[in-house]
Symmetry: C2
Subunit: 608 residues, 2 copies
């Protein structure tokens, strides 16, 4: 049997576009002799559409488009597996609305040949499946039956091949009390897993391990079909990387495409035993993150019709990398670099910004902020009879750049401006609200500062060598006061080589660590802190005493759990690429930073 | 038996504070002869703490504080029912972390006498229970049993009284396939429902109906104990109104306190048959919303140590109401009213702002924006050789006020500044990012503009008559250009008496309506649009033709589903009081505005 894998770009909330794309793929596959076309989960509605799942008419609409696809198999030889939302009239979801499920549909000869409802629904990170969908476990229960006894998955025959269908998380069974693949009523010849699965650092290699293991254990080949595109939940833009592939009974993998590319390919299921393990081990390096970020920014902007981008370029590494990324997406004549010097900006950084502009041939403007900052100082002095503090003045400068100049230019040219912030800054709120924290999109806000450097180097070496070398040698600095003079080597208070690792342990580790963990490690000694954080230097080399280490720990923990949350609530959307990104992925409440009783005991024990 | 109802203020993420408060209440109740003290759900950890539920050490900590409470009943006569998080070591939640549940604990004589795990977990609106907690239904399943057959709730005896425990949503069973109150192994003499239930418009009267109905049906009195305080999930600040009360077998209700107040009261369960129905029918009017907003703003600010507030007062109704609310919370000397006139601000509105300041005796400054706006114009002209458009200039003014002046003043005086936006503006993005949309808190952003007027009137009549009468008579206007001259009656493009109702049908209706619904109503004729939206005038009186009605509909629908979402992603936290508020309560993705096929058919049919 010949199967066409249709790895399509799915646009969330655009059922008509998605359906037309699937219909075209069906025609093409039929004409090329395919017996079955498989496309991805939720291929008609999209997946990350927020509470639009509550809109009954949208669901109706998606069901009608689904019927178009089913009808399209009439008078055709080809069968089709696709994903859609399905609602069950006269039944109730637990939010009081009509019950609906995430469904795989097998259609042939103009009719539904079989369906499958998702059993395992993710409710962690960005996922909210239980909020909207009734899973197969609840459904079994609602029929007054015991899920474990009566729960079975049907098998459907296409061209003599017995096919079992599963949906996405059903194949990622490691954390659930049941494994849907074990519940088929008869042994299928092929499992088809349709997915709508976003890219995350390291995800695909993990999938290869779990899916290959299941294929070997069940002695059934598994076909995985995922979509490409971008979908968002407001705060987070997720990229969908495709990566459709087949796992044979020996766990060999054959993948079909480059990641992040739309494609259809026909293969013969009878010949898969002849495949070699042709899947490359997927890189989990900075290049993989770069690919996701460039793709995410491009498709997000295209989907909003954005063609002109304004970037505030200070001449630091963050604005250089954002400029580099945007230079791949918009034309030079639509890329506006704006340098906004004050008395504190060095010739060094200004010349980096100028050099960058020359390499790219894009637009460049220098608009100083001095007069405006002075005006604000004067107005405050006149009103209050007092001078703004140095710290206040730093923020006045940052806000002047973004809220006064960049916003006005973006609107004037009919474009948008970027937020160039990184994850290190966002973690502890080392950024100014209405200042450098603002923008339509924060493309690198899910990268630690050390990763920003790594990606800039990667860009120069692999994409386009345009980021001036000097930016890699100067100290990172906000250049908002004389105390942040880069030429004197003065800069940010964050020691990135250490704090990036410390912050990552708070944010990205699966069991996110706390100061209590840290003090346990510190008390243990013997390099346990360094080992657990992955430091390649001794921590004490950065601090004079353990008092200093602990004071530093508390300073950043308080900020991370304090003011930084207030800032993140109002921060721009970011492109999520890490194992845990701020926003809807890591849900936060404004509360006081918490230290446990055990923390205080440890602190006392360590400091004596 | 004498029961002490402890309606306490619970601070999320502060287990030590909460525990100490409960311990003090136990001592007091024991000394006053109570046999049982009941306090609220999750009374140790709090409830809206985001993904802090993942922090194992925090859970450990809460369990240890729970042990303190259990130990406190040793050598005492009194028993205690309280709520806490409970984790089950060596078991797995479906996010791969350790399994944990929302638990009610009955402690007596220094030991746990009984526990109950929440069965029904809300996953709509702001609630994410399944993300974190393993409910009793799943737990039953995981023991390889059928929930319906083996699922029972234990009954525990205190002083000869058989008590059944339930948690919050367990009592709100209307939308679930089972009603936990029906599953007690023996008939209790008393059901204790401990809750952590936020205020929502109309909620308490609905609770009275459902709880009283259950009490009558089961012929068991139900004691409801809820906490007070504020808890947030970042975007939304929810108020908890307490409202603890008892429902007797006849459905009579006796409530114990004023809403939003901390209190403990002892009553004799044997005497409840003597109660009359003493619960007032709770007002669902603007006064109830005012109470929630003032309480929410006050407790949110107090919990962040905020004592100084800066308000941009244009002299419009929104800034007048926000000032009025804040005047109840901060001292006059800590309240800074800032009027920021341009050439477009009328003497009328400026004099309203001045009058307001005089009535309150607070601080007042007039800081004009002309020079800064001119500077921005000049800098753009110099750089681009072009003039800013009138629309661009409007936004330059709005941003100058908030991002340049209010931010600088707030930081200078060591305070914060407010966002005075309302829900009508937020729905369609009639506001400027980095301008009037910014601020630390948007206290009235869950009120429609028509409600803002209503609340301002309520404030004058019931709280403090200080909002100048003239503000009720002028047309609402942004005063950002000559086309918005209030003295000439020119103002906002939103027709609030109509659009507030239209927008509410899109946002707040349980089954949120769409343009398709609207066209169905329009086609039906006979005042169906007016009836469904609750208009007290004929829609056609506002528009010349049906074309105009539909063009207007599409204009706002496109904004609501388009640019306004981008704005809401970066908007400040708001106090949620309605049946559906923007933020975490209504989850949104940036997508294209969707119109169904049926919509286009209807439009064609109507316009011919």
């Amino acid at each position: 049997m010949k199967i066409c894998v249709a790895q399509l770009e799915i646009i969330p909330g655009e059922p008509e576009l998605n359906t037309n794309k699937i219909l075209a793929a069906i025609d093409k596959a039929e004409s090329e002799g395919a017996d079955l076309l498989v496309t991805s989960e939720m291929s008609i509605p999209g997946y990350l559409i927020g509470d639009n799942w509550e809109r009954l008419q949208f669901i109706d609409e998606c069901e009608r488009y689904g019927e178009d696809i089913i009808r399209a198999t009439r008078d055709k030889h080809i069968a089709v597996i696709f994903g859609n939302i399905a609602k069950f009239d006269n039944t109730q979801n637990e939010d009081g609305r009509v019950r609906k499920s995430n469904m795989a549909i097998l259609a042939a000869n103009g009719e539904i040949l079989g369906t499958q409802i998702k059993t395992l629904q993710p409710n962690y990170r960005e996922f909210d499946d239980n909020r909207h969908f009734y899973d197969k476990r609840k459904l079994s229960q609602s029929f007054d039956s015991d899920t474990r006894d009566t729960y079975t998955n049907s098998v459907f025959t296409v061209n003599g091949v017995k096919i079992g269908m599963l949906l996405c998380e059903d194949g990622w069974n490691a954390d659930y009390p049941l494994n849907p693949i074990e519940y088929f009523e008869t042994k299928p010849d092929l499992i088809v897993n349709i997915s709508c699965s976003p890219f995350t650092s390291g995800k695909n290699n993990k999938r290869h391990r779990i899916f290959a293991k299941n294929a070997i254990a069940q002695q059934i080949p598994i076909l995985y079909v995922n979509n490409v595109g971008v979908q968002n939940n407001g705060k987070n833009i997720f990229t969908f990387d495709g990566g459709s592939c087949i796992y044979d009974k020996q766990g060999n993998i054959r993948d079909f495409y480059e990641l992040f590319e739309e494609a259809t390919e026909i293969f013969d299921i009878d010949l898969i035993s002849l495949f070699e393990n042709t899947a490359p081990i997927l890189a989990e390096d900075i290049g993989a993150l770069y690919q996701a970020i460039e793709y995410g920014a491009r498709r997000f902007m295209e989907s909003h019709g954005i063609t002109k981008v304004v970037i505030g370029v200070s001449g630091g590494i963050d604005s250089c990398l954002v400029t580099a990324i945007m230079s791949r997406i918009v034309k030079p004549e639509n890329l506006y670099l704006i340098n906004m010097p004050s008395e504190f900006n060095s010739k060094t950084t200004i010349s980096i910004a100028e050099e960058l502009h020359k390499s790219l041939g894009c637009k460049y403007y220098s608009i100083p902020i001095g007069a405006s900052v002075e005006l604000t100082q004067t107005q405050i002095r006149d009103a209050f009879g007092e001078e703004l503090s140095e710290f206040s003045l730093q923020n006045v400068q940052a806000r002047d750049r973004s809220s006064r100049i960049l916003s006005a230019i973006a609107q004037h040219v009919g474009g948008v401006f970027t937020c160039n912030g990184n994850k290190s800054e966002l973690t502890v709120g080392y950024c100014t609200m209405l200042g450098d924290l603002s923008g339509f999109l924060a493309p690198i806000a899910d990268l630690w500062k050390t990763q920003v450097y790594e990606m800039a180097e990667y860009f120069n070496q692999n994409i386009h060598n345009i980021i001036p070398e000097e930016v890699f040698t100067i100290v990172p600095s906000a250049e908002l006061s004389a105390t942040q003079n880069v030429d004197e080597g003065k800069g940010d208070p964050i020691i990135y080589k250490y704090h990036d690792k410390l912050f990552a342990s708070w944010v990205e580790k699966w069991d996110r660590s706390t100061p209590e963990d840290f003090l346990e490690w510190l008390q243990e000694g013997n390099g346990v802190v360094e080992k657990n954080l992955g430091l390649d230097f001794e921590l004490i080399s950065l601090f004079s005493t353990k008092e200093d280490i602990i004071a530093d720990l508390e300073r950043w923990w308080n900020l991370y759990n304090g003011l930084a949350i207030a800032k993140r609530i109002q921060s721009p959307p970011l492109i999520s690429v890490s194992r845990r990104s701020f926003g809807f992925d890591l849900r936060e409440s404004q509360m006081k930073a918490h230290y446990s009783r055990r923390y205080y005991e440890l602190k006392k024990a360590i400091l004596g």
